[in-house]
Structure formats: structure tokens, C-alpha cells
Symmetry: none
Subunit: 525 residues, 2 copies
């Protein structure tokens, strides 16, 4: 089976998208998920242009990755200096990766009018840079920016620029459709020619979606001989986005018999796609090929009838191959067998026909209809199931809370919370101040519980995200709050939904605390 | 210039999408817009399967359309009856259109296993139906459902099914990738063969996006000889959607020199796309090729620099050709010259060297560092600039507010706000209740202002978004609130940032109100 190397740029080119801004922590989490999925390369940032990226490369150096190699990305040396003296190249080397991607110009117009140097100097910049990086023991991917546009304008010069990279020892020549303006016929034809001119050297393809053709162009390039495909999870990227790996990978594996991921990894595709949307805090595209909720949803009566007779009627692939599910009967909830597997982790005695299963499915449907999304909040999922199975005893009960927000604030503290809870019949009333109402509530509830459950001190909130669900309802819209918590050896995620951000936060907070106390109890007894 | 006939199915196949449901009124409005855009055909519904559609066809018969012809859509006659006796065909004729589209089976498996009849009877169903409709004077488009899958499975039978339609006099043979599972190489090759077998007869293409290839497949089919392209505005449709006409039309006109729309119509594309999103009540895809807000947006510093030097650097076409516009994002990376242009809109006397410019830049940097992102909140940007230039007089002053949130809530109202403001020295104290603290504040401040500024009643919040910025700080994280507001003739966006979601919402709300009152005042004189 032919191998295609998947080169993910979610954290570099994908981070150029409008509204995307990752913390170092976010980036580390995404690297871990991409490694688990099994992409060959993770292009993680440009250490020369962004000091935050350098910090990230230090962090990521400590991770032990199973499948992926990290790539630092940067440009060729500046005009008129030695590669050894270029600050950007120094930062690239400092990032400490084993592989580096370098982009350079292949379009004569870009050289003379944007870079404003000579065609000869540009070739020297490409060659010098790659030779220098090779001398430092790096694997080098050469990204030929604007390659297809350049080839159309001046094929001779575009070919020369690749030649310069190849002569200097580039391990991969990646052809970029930087403006996203090219069509499959041209991309296929040109890629074939380049592959023939550079036998034995890897050819890559990097497409943008400005004509809504990035996926097709990438696949056609593979059919023409490319063995490395650059893109991003969910196609996130500047303008109309980069080539969408979540469509390209299953297209190549399921339709062309290529091998892109380690065996049995494709099934993680849908959950990885949703995970990245959540970390980026952008709504997941539910119409996305393969990984959207609607990708295998059937509405038309005739279609449902036919799909029930045989799925091949209106499904081009089996949704389970990509970790997705057909949705007809159990609309919002993922396939019952998948669900059953998860429930069995909590109670292994249950079977497909247990009456509890129906109750759980109904409850989950109800909650998903309200806006819950258990994909990213497994601890809330577990609590829902345990409650229905009678396997959850709450550790405390809320009597009431009151939160007061004052403006103007004094000393940066504008909120106070008064919380009354009972634990085994004992009442506890506390108050806490905080920076905002959620912060005050968070402090208050822990303070109230400390007396009964001292381990609560170990727990801390590490992530807090808010998403507005039906945003056209303006200030009375529904919001979904996702909280991630951790103690010394675990990390867990919980969720709350309400029209009120305070109440949604409270629900997620309560689930988070209950989960912590439940796990502590299991361990203790 | 080669003519390609655009066949819009937004109101038929597009209406199969999850969450889409048009009223008759909606459909009439969309027909009028599609006619103004100038598509050749509007497939408007299936009168046989949906009585609401029959009412609609009566309504639409009264319209005078300039460019488009309406098509009624239905299936071949039922198994074992005469076409003349088929109820669905009767409804189709009753719809009173001059053209009719009929779908039939081309995949042997579908005939024997889904339709459950013989291969011969299926051919007779296709032939009889089309002959009958032709005898009634109709123009007939034959949609060969599952054509590409059928051709792969049994090419002989797939060809026979087209032959049956052609012999019966079908005016167009439309090849459908019903499951959306085919790739450009196969679609192109098969379309070429079919076009060669049926010289002089129109060949159509109808694709679905399950492999994210519908646009590419449609374009490749045109390159192979198809002259009719079926699709929907914005690619709306069942599962992953239909082929997106908003990408296909400019791809064909601007890149392949085909003629799809009447002269000078392409410029309506972006507004038509937004209009359909609005009527369908779905968020417009801002990353959409050609017609999204982000399609020509530039963020990276290098890209902005190059685009300013010459747009062709990072733009594959001129955005104005499709009625869109370039947008340069005002993030940290954006250059000073772009900023100056925007400031000059507010005060044209300023130059690059005015001392005010430095003050503004410093203040914007400070705010962006705090988490403001003015690219999506131009009204807040304008207010910042006006404040520094001394060109903004606040319409009210907040003395204090207090918000109280109670849990458990009573009657779904859990929050109350007390607000004290002054307007020209006059004090106003009001209280309001709401579903959540932001809703209570929103109601309270408008109530307080109504006495002084009655036009405030025209204003409404149409969108409310929360993003957590440094989410690793958990419940004390910084949040950014983006509010979109509208009155009868304007729409504007404002932003607030704070560690407290209430305060951030308040700031965005105040900017929104100030912006409204400022514009009203300018108009008033």
C-alpha cells in the first residue's frame, strides 16, 4: 500500500485564520492529539516571527511523541547576507526540531516586485538556506510558494527555483497553490511533470481553498505522484482556509487505498476534528465531509427508506470507518453500539437490550437537544449515566446562592457570592469575593466544601470556555460552558448549558467537583 | 464564449438540508433573487410529494421572470402502470411549468434492490415517462440518479438507461453523483464519454459534496463537455451539501471564460449568497470561496505588505468582480498605512505625522494587548479614535450598577439589575429583571435611556458572542464579548474585554448604544 505522509499545519498556517489565537497550552494539547491520530509531521510555528512560538518549541521538546515529528517553519535567508548570519534561521535552529520547512519564491514576479531582488539572488537564497540547514543535520522540506502561478507565468524560472532547492539537498519539494486559484487539471499535470523531473525525491502539495478545490487539488496531486500532503484539521486557515485533512485523509485511505495514518487510526478522525474545533473555540462545521454531524444524516423520506434497506444507497462510505455515525433514528446521539461500549465501562453487566439503555439514550438526546455535546465533556457524560443507573450519590446539595456584581468595582474585586450547601444534613454557609461572578462562585463553593472534603484543595480549574449556541437570540441566547479541571494525577472536562452564563458555569463547576469527589472516594474505599 | 446553463436547486435539493424549512413567501423571494442574478433554471420543488409546493407553483406562475425558467421536479412513473395514470406525473403537469426534471435509476443494484423491479421495467419507466411529458409539450431534463456509481458497477446498464431517456426525447441528460463519493478523474472521464455518445444533446452534471469535491467535479465535468450545472446557492443541501454554485459560477466565468450569467450579473453573487443565508436563517459561511467575508481577508504581516504592493500577490481574483471586498484585518500585525486610511475616514485632515496618530496607535496597541480585536468591531474602533480626537461626547454617564443573581430562580428569571445613570446632570435610577445578568443589564440600560433618547427603542441586539482569551486562567480568565446591533437601516458591531463577563458585556453594550446615539445625532443635524 502506497504511503502518503500527512503534514499538518493547523498550528502554523491554520493559526493565520481570522479569530484563531492559541495559547501555548492549547498548542501542546493539539500536538498530543495529532500525534495520537498519527500524522507524519506537525508544522508547529514560525519561531523567527513570533517569540511565543519559541517558548512553545521548548515545551514541545519535552513531549514524547509516538508518530509525529515536529517541524519549525520559516523563510529563506534575507537578501544579501550569509545564511549563517540570518536571525530567522538562527531562531529556526534554536527551536531544536529534527526537521525544518523553508519557504521561498518560485514566481519571477514575486521576486522582482515583492521581494525586490534579482532572479539570481533569489535562487542563491534558496540554495544557501537549504545547504546551511542540511549542514546542521536537519531534514528540510522546501515549500515553493506560489509554485503553480509561477509556473504558469514563467515555467523556466519556476523549475529553476526547484532545481536550486534540490541541488542544495532539500528532502521534499512541496508545490504550493498559495492563492488557491488553480484547478485540478493544471495541478495534476504540473505535479506529474515535477515528479518525473525529480525521481527519488519526495514531492509535496500545499493547497488553499479559494476556489473550493483544495481537497480535489490535493488528491489529484497524489494521483500524479505527490507523497506528502500539507493541510489543516477542518481546513482552518487564512481566507477560505487550507486543504482540509479531515476530507483528504479518508479520501486517500478509503477511496485510493493509500496509507496515511497508522493502522486503525482513521477511526479517531471525527473526534480529533471536534477536539480541534473546541480548542480553537470555533463552531464545528456540521456539514463537513466525513466528520460533520450531518455528513451521514438522512432527512428525505425516500433516502431514509433506501438507507434502511441498504446503506450503500445514499452513503459513499461506512461512517464508522472515520469514527462518525449515521444519524436517522437516534438523531443527535452517536451510534448505539458506540454508546453501549462507553456505558459498559461504567456498568459491564448492561447489554444492548437492557431497559436502562433506552432511558440513558432518551436522557442524552434530551440534553443534546438542549445544547450539550458530550464529545468534549466525558466526565459530565459519565455523571449523567451514573445518575440514571442509580450509581451516583451527590456529595453535597445546593440550598441557594446569590451573586452580586458591583460597578464600579473596588480593588479589582467586583463580585461576591453567598453560598449555602448541605452535606449529610449539615449546613454550611460561606461567602467569597472574586474577579467576576464565576470566579466568586468557584472560590465560594470550594471554601464551603473544604471542611467536609479536604482533597478539594488539590483540584484546580485549568480551562474555561464559553460558546454562545443560538447567538441570534442576542443577550438571552443559550450558552455552553466547558470547564477543564485537574488534580495531581488526572484531568477531566465537564459542561453546563443554560441561557445564563452564571448558571451554565455553575452546572459545569458542580459536575467537575462531583467527579473529583467520586474518583477520590473510589480510591479511598 | 461558451454558454453554461446554471440550474439552481436551492429550493428543491437544497431544502433537504438539516434545519432548512422555507415558507411559500421565502421561496418566492428566493426565486426573484435568482432570476435577478440570472440563472437559467430554478428547480423549485416536487409538487407530487409536497402539497405546499403546488401552492407555491401557483404563486410563482404569476411572477414575470426575466432570465430564469421554473422547473418542477419528480420521479419516473411508478412500477407497472401507464405514465398517463401516475398521480405524481399529474401533479408535475399541474404545476404548469414549461420544463420538468425527472429522476430515474441508472444503477442496476438500485433497480433490483431498492426499487425492486426488473432492469427492463426500469428502462420502460424512464422511456414512458419522458415520452409522455414530451407529448405534453414539456422540455425535459433527465436526472440519472447514482449515474457514476452505476457506471462503475455496470457500465452497460448505466449507458442503456441514458439511451432510453435520449430515445424518448429528453432535452438534457444530467449525470448525478448522488452519494457524492466520486473523484474528478473519474467524473471527467465518464462525462467525456457520455458527451461523445450523445452529440447535440445537452449533458448536465449534479454533484454532492461528501468528499469535499463537488465544485471540482462540476468544473471538471464542464471541461469534459457538460453544458448544464446543477447546484445550490452556498452549497446548501442534504448531508454535506450540493455543489456550491457560488464557487462554480465564478470559477467557470473568471477562470475558464465560460458564460453562466447575463453580462454584469456576477457582481450580484455575494449579495445573493448572503440573502439566501438570511432567508434560510443559517449563519453565512464567512470562509466561503468568493462570497465569504474572509475570502479576501489578510492577516499575516508579510501578506498584508505584499497585497498592499500588489493584490495579485495573495488574491487569485479581484474581489469586486463577485461583489465582495478586500478586508485587511486590524490585528497587531497590520501596518500603519492601513490604519491611517481608516482614521482619515473620521478626520481627513490628519496626516501620517500628526501627533494624534501616535496617540491613537499607542492606545490601540494597548487595547489589543488587553484582548480587543478591532477587525470584527469597527464601531468600537471608531469610538476609540473619536475619544482620542476629542470628537466624542458621551450621551450618558454610569454612576453605578448592581446585578444580583439568585439560584434557584423563580419563573425563569434569576437576575435583577439596578442601574443609576446621569444624562446632562439629570439622574435616572431604574431596575430590570432578566434571564441571566447580561439580559437584565441590557434591559435596564435601555429602560433608563428611553426617557432621554426615544430612538433607543429602534435598536436591537442581533448577535452576542463570548470568547475566553486566556482560558488557562480558568474562572478568572479574560473574556471578550462581541455584540452586533441593528436598527431599521444599519448594523454595527462593538466589543468589550474584561476578566468578568458581565463587565465585558457592559462595555460592549455601552459602545453599541453610544454608536447608535452618535449616528442618530449626526443625522438629526
Amino acid at each position: 500500500m502506497d504511503q502518503v505522509h500527512i503534514y499538518d499545519s493547523t498550528l502554523r498556517d491554520g493559526a493565520q485564520a481570522q479569530g484563531i489565537s492559541y495559547s501555548v497550552e492549547d498548542k501542546v494539547k493539539i500536538v498530543e492529539r495529532l500525534d495520537a491520530l498519527g500524522v507524519a509531521f506537525i508544522e508547529a510555528g514560525n519561531p523567527g516571527s513570533n517569540p511565543k512560538d519559541l517558548e512553545f518549541f521548548r515545551r514541545v521538546g519535552d513531549l514524547t511523541l509516538k508518530h509525529s515529528r515536529i517541524i519549525a517553519f520559516g523563510s529563506t535567508r534575507k537578501v544579501g547576507i550569509r545564511a549563517e548570519d540570518d536571525d530567522n534561521l538562527r531562531s529556526l535552529l534554536e527551536a531544536g526540531t529534527t526537521a525544518i520547512a523553508i519557504f521561498g519564491k518560485s514566481w519571477d514576479y514575486q521576486v522582482t516586485h515583492i521581494l525586490r531582488t534579482t532572479l539570481e539572488e533569489n535562487l542563491a537564497m534558496i540554495g544557501d538556506t537549504i545547504r546551511y540547514l542540511k549542514s546542521q543535520g536537519k531534514e528540510v522540506v522546501y515549500d515553493a510558494e506560489h509554485f503553480f502561478d509561477g509556473y504558469r507565468a514563467n515555467p523556466g524560472y519556476a523549475l529553476q527555483s526547484l532545481e536550486a532547492a534540490a541541488l542544495a539537498g532539500a528532502d521534499c519539494l512541496c508545490l504550493c497553490d498559495t492563492n488557491g486559484g488553480n484547478f485540478p487539471d493544471f495541478v495534476g499535470e504540473v505535479t506529474k511533470q515535477i515528479a518525473a523531473r525529480h525521481p527519488g525525491r519526495a514531492i509535496g502539495i500545499h493547497c488553499h481553498n479559494d476556489c473550493e478545490m483544495a481537497v480535489a487539488n490535493s488528491v489529484v496531486a497524489v494521483q500524479a505522484g505527490a507523497t506528502q500532503v500539507q493541510g489543516t484539521i477542518n481546513g482552518v486557515g487564512e481566507r477560505c482556509g487550507n486543504a482540509n485533512l479531515c476530507a483528504i485523509i479518508p479520501n486517500l485511505e478509503l477511496k485510493l487505498g493509500k496509507s496515511c495514518l497508522p493502522p486503525n487510526s482513521l477511526i479517531q478522525l471525527t473526534s480529533t476534528a471536534r477536539f480541534v474545533s473546541d480548542v480553537a473555540n470555533i463552531p464545528h462545521n456540521e456539514k463537513a465531509a466525513y466528520v460533520g454531524n450531518d455528513a451521514f444524516a438522512h432527512k428525505g423520506g425516500m433516502h431514509i427508506d433506501a438507507v434502511t434497506k441498504n446503506p450503500v444507497s445514499y452513503e459513499h462510505v461506512d461512517p464508522e470507518l472515520v469514527g462518525n455515525a449515521r444519524s436517522i433514528l437516534m438523531s443527535e446521539v452517536a451510534g448505539r453500539s458506540m454508546l453501549l461500549a462507553r456505558i459498559k465501562l461504567i456498568d459491564p453487566t448492561l447489554t444492548r437490550d437492557s431497559p436502562e439503555i433506552r432511558l440513558i439514550v432518551d436522557r442524552l438526546k434530551e440534553l443534546e437537544h438542549e445544547g450539550y455535546q458530550f464529545e468534549s465533556a466525558e466526565s459530565s457524560f459519565e455523571l449523567v449515566v451514573r445518575k440514571i443507573l442509580g450509581r451516583h450519590r451527590p456529595h453535597f446539595e445546593l440550598r441557594e446562592f446569590k451573586v452580586i456584581v458591583n460597578e464600579p468595582s473596588s480593588n479589582g474585586v467586583n463580585s461576591s457570592a453567598i453560598i449555602k450547601i448541605t452535606v449529610n444534613g449539615q449546613e454550611e454557609l460561606t461567602a467569597a469575593e472574586g474577579d467576576g461572578p464565576v470566579n466568586a462562585l468557584d472560590k465560594g463553593i470550594r471554601k464551603a466544601l473544604e471542611r467536609f472534603y479536604p482533597t478539594i484543595r488539590e483540584m484546580r480549574l485549568i480551562d474555561y470556555k464559553v460558546r454562545v449556541l443560538d447567538s441570534d437570540k442576542a443577550s438571552a441566547a443559550k450558552v455552553r460552558v466547558l470547564i477543564e479541571s485537574a488534580d495531581h494525577d488526572r484531568q477531566w472536562a465537564t459542561m453546563g448549558v443554560s441561557t445564563d452564563v452564571i448558571e451554565a458555569s455553575w452546572r459545569a463547576l458542580v459536575d467537575s467537583i462531583e467527579y473529583k469527589l467520586m474518583r477520590d472516594q473510589e480510591r479511598g474505599g
